[in-house]
């Protein structure tokens, strides 16, 4: 019932946008999973499937002037923040027209024009950077906010913990989203952390927080809206913990024997944020199945084209090796 209520509070356009974002991410990730198996995709690839509601629910409150610092598992954040999907696919294939000219790959997708400060190969790399975003908006008196995403494992990194303190002390317009999917690589969240909640931890630094079910788009959307609003209006930083599920391995190629047998099938059957969203909005009678099917098809076609074009696209010229080290030398 509440879920239906949540669905009724958003405009139809907003609902369709959110669905499009989540569906595009899911399609992107499922397809990468398949393509990776063929051996066509180089490097380490960490998929966001199952976690889409967080990226969509948070980013719905941001515009291009707001900045986001992502993680190694960055495709979802990038798509939701408005990065060009084809450009991302080209990047992951290491092609010249990639969003980073093929120089970054999956772990370093960034587009500063869109406010995407980058996926990050270093766990805990992002939180200090986002404090800088908050500082820059304070110094200039603008209304931008910065959002950093950190996993349940990354929330044990000193850089993250120091950033909580700095943001609290300087009252920065910054939101720390903790994406708690229960695992850091193969290690259980409960092995790496001795307390139940990251919110308690944040409170020990003077940062208020809230925990939501990250498979419920509306819960994420509402909580994110509140903390982003507060930050934007001078109310300081917050922590938003999202409990969520990871549908694939830590990275592609992970046999996942550390998970319970049947765990992923169960999660897919019972905790799929996209299925849940669909049920919510259709039950609320604000969107029809047909409308959502059309978006499914749109997403499918987009990713299909993206993969086709990416595989066919030219690789960077070799002299690109030596460019972009300095602005001026």
């Amino acid at each position: 019932m509440t879920e239906v209520a949540g669905a009724r509070e958003l405009s139809k356009e907003a609902l369709l946008d959110a669905y499009r974002t989540m569906r595009t991410i899911r399609e992107f990730e499922e397809r990468l999973h398949t393509e990776f198996a063929t051996g066509e995709i180089p490097g380490f690839v960490h998929l966001y499937a199952g976690e889409e509601a967080i990226a969509a629910g948070v980013m719905a409150h941001l515009d291009e002037n707001d900045y986001v610092a992502s993680t190694h598992r960055g495709h979802g954040h990038s798509i939701a923040k408005g990065c060009d999907v084809k450009g991302m696919m080209f990047e992951i294939y290491g092609k010249d027209e990639g969003i980073c000219r093929g120089k970054g790959g999956s772990m370093h997708i960034a587009d500063l024009d869109k406010g995407m400060l980058g996926a990050n190969g270093i766990v805990g790399g992002g939180p200090p950077l986002v404090c800088g975003v908050g500082l820059s908006t304070k110094v200039r008196g603008t209304k931008q906010v910065g959002v950093s995403f950190t996993g349940d494992g990354g929330a044990n990194q000193g850089t993250f913990l120091e950033s909580l303190n700095l943001a609290a002390v300087w009252e920065l317009p910054v939101i720390f989203v903790v994406e708690n999917n229960g695992y850091a690589e193969s290690t259980s969240r409960d092995y790496g952390v001795a307390v139940d909640s990251y919110v308690d931890r944040a409170q020990g630094f003077g940062i208020p927080g809230v925990t939501v079910d990250g498979t419920d788009f509306f819960a994420v959307h509402e909580a994110a809206g509140a903390v982003i609003d507060r930050a934007r209006n001078g109310g300081g930083p917050s922590l938003l913990e999202c409990e969520m599920v990871r549908f694939f391995g830590h990275f592609e190629g992970d046999a996942q024997t550390y998970r319970a047998p049947g765990e992923v099938d169960d999660l897919r059957a019972t905790r799929d944020c996209i299925v849940r969203f669909r049920t919510q909005v259709v039950d609320a009678e604000v969107v029809t199945d047909d409308e959502l099917d059309a978006i499914d098809e749109e997403a499918r076609a987009l990713i299909e084209t993206a993969v086709d074009e990416a595989t066919a696209a030219p690789v960077p010229e070799l002299d690109e090796l030596l460019t972009d080290v300095y602005v001026s030398y």
């Binding site: 180089p42 490097g43 380490f44 990047e91 290491g94 092609k95 010249d96 990639g98 980073c100 093929g102 120089k103 970054g104 790959g105 772990m107 370093h108 990050n120 190969g121 270093i122 766990v123 805990g124 494992g153 990354g154 044990n156 990194q157 000193g158 850089t159 695992y183 850091a184 690589e185 193969s186 290690t187 259980s188 969240r189 409960d190 092995y191 790496g192 952390v193 996942q256 024997t257 550390y258 998970r259 319970a260 047998p261 765990e263 690789v315 960077p316 070799l318 690109e320 090796l321 030596l322 080290v325």
Partner: protein, 337 residues
């Protein structure tokens, strides 16, 4: 008896044998066991590329998975070393040193000196180095020069399964802090390795190929590029002597100089970035101590002064290859003839 095993297996065997031999040896790192606290298998990963797989079954709680906090657990390994253990801590990718470097260079490396000789810190820090896995700028660095610069640290980077086993055992037994660099593109490389335990002392280079025309100094993966180049050159009538440094600090300069005295030509190969690199270091020391033996300019073949690019073609162009080494040799040999 020697059998053919991979470098991955050689590391695993070295750890296994040292843990069996010495109860003060423990291993720790993120996911080096894998599955800690998780609902599935306990010994699920054995490290991100499976190097420590199976050790938990044999040694149990003396292998510890750690939370994602390199400063805390690398520091804990160092602290434990100062009070009697002989920990082997895995930093996973050497690229992550930036979040815990203080514990390594201001603590472990300096204790002995700052405390007037009273501390020993027998810690070994294992980490993957090098490019070639399309792992991009933050997972492909060498960074060997950064550690080599620091007095008090020993730095090892083996090129064969045989050396890997012996040098890892040597590192664990060494009473100084050792940075043990494993080239991730070489884990599947095979070679003959004795089953029994043996230790190679740190600070001894290895002449892996003899030749009178030009000395090529290399370490890690680059030893193989150097050897490949040497083979090509042999067919052209140029005989190269390939010196595998094995240990970057302490450095076996004597072996390098002896070789240069014989050949009069020196090419230094380094997968690290060029500025203040191992290649530069060896070149400079030879230019100071064996200048008279040099008959031509010293050549350095290194990665360019850029981060490691992701795109496979660019990454391949980034890593020094046999062709570039051969070209450098040809040019120096031609000059000084």
């Amino acid at each position: 008896m020697a059998r053919t095993i991979t470098m991955r297996q050689a590391i695993n065997e070295a750890l296994d044998q040292e843990m069996t031999r010495d109860p003060s040896v423990i291993c720790m790192g993120e996911d080096i066991v894998g599955g800690a606290g998780s609902p599935g298998e306990d010994d699920a990963w054995g490290g991100v590329l499976g190097v420590t797989k199976g050790l938990y079954a044999k040694h149990g709680d003396r292998l510890l998975d750690t939370p994602l906090s390199e400063s805390a657990y690398i520091g804990a390994a160092i602290g434990a070393a100062t009070c009697g253990l002989r920990p082997v801590a895995e930093l996973m990718f050497i690229d992550f040193m930036g979040v815990c470097f203080d514990q390594i260079y201001n603590q472990a490396a300096k204790f002995r000196y700052m405390f007037g000789g009273k501390a020993v810190t027998p810690v070994t820090i294992r980490a993957m180095v090098g490019a070639g896995l399309r792992a991009a700028a933050q997972h492909s660095q060498m960074l060997t020069p950064v550690f080599t610069h620091i007095p008090g640290l020993k730095v090892v980077c083996p090129s064969t399964p045989y050396d890997t086993k012996g040098l890892l055992i040597g590192s664990i037994r060494d009473d100084d802090p050792v940075i043990f660099c494993e080239h991730k593109a070489m884990y599947d490389m095979e070679g003959e390795v004795p089953e029994t335990s043996y230790s190679i002392p740190l600070g001894e280079a290895n002449v892996v190929r003899e030749g009178g025309d030009c000395t090529i100094v290399a370490y890690g993966l680059m030893v193989h590029k150097a050897t490949e180049a040497a083979e090509t050159l042999a067919s052209e009538g140029v005989e190269c002597e390939v010196v595998d440094l094995r240990s970057l600090s302490p450095l076996d300069l004597d072996t390098v100089i002896e070789s240069v005295e014989g050949t009069g030509h020196l090419v230094c190969v380094d997968e690290a970035n060029p500025r203040c690199s191992i290649a530069a270091d060896v070149s400079a020391q030879v230019a100071q101590h064996a200048f008279g033996s040099l008959r031509a300019p010293i050549a350095m073949v290194t990665a360019p002064h850029t981060p490691v690019p992701f795109a496979p073609g660019l990454e391949d162009a980034y890593i020094p290859d046999a062709a570039r080494v051969a070209k450098a040799v040809r040019s120096t040999v031609a000059t000084g003839a």
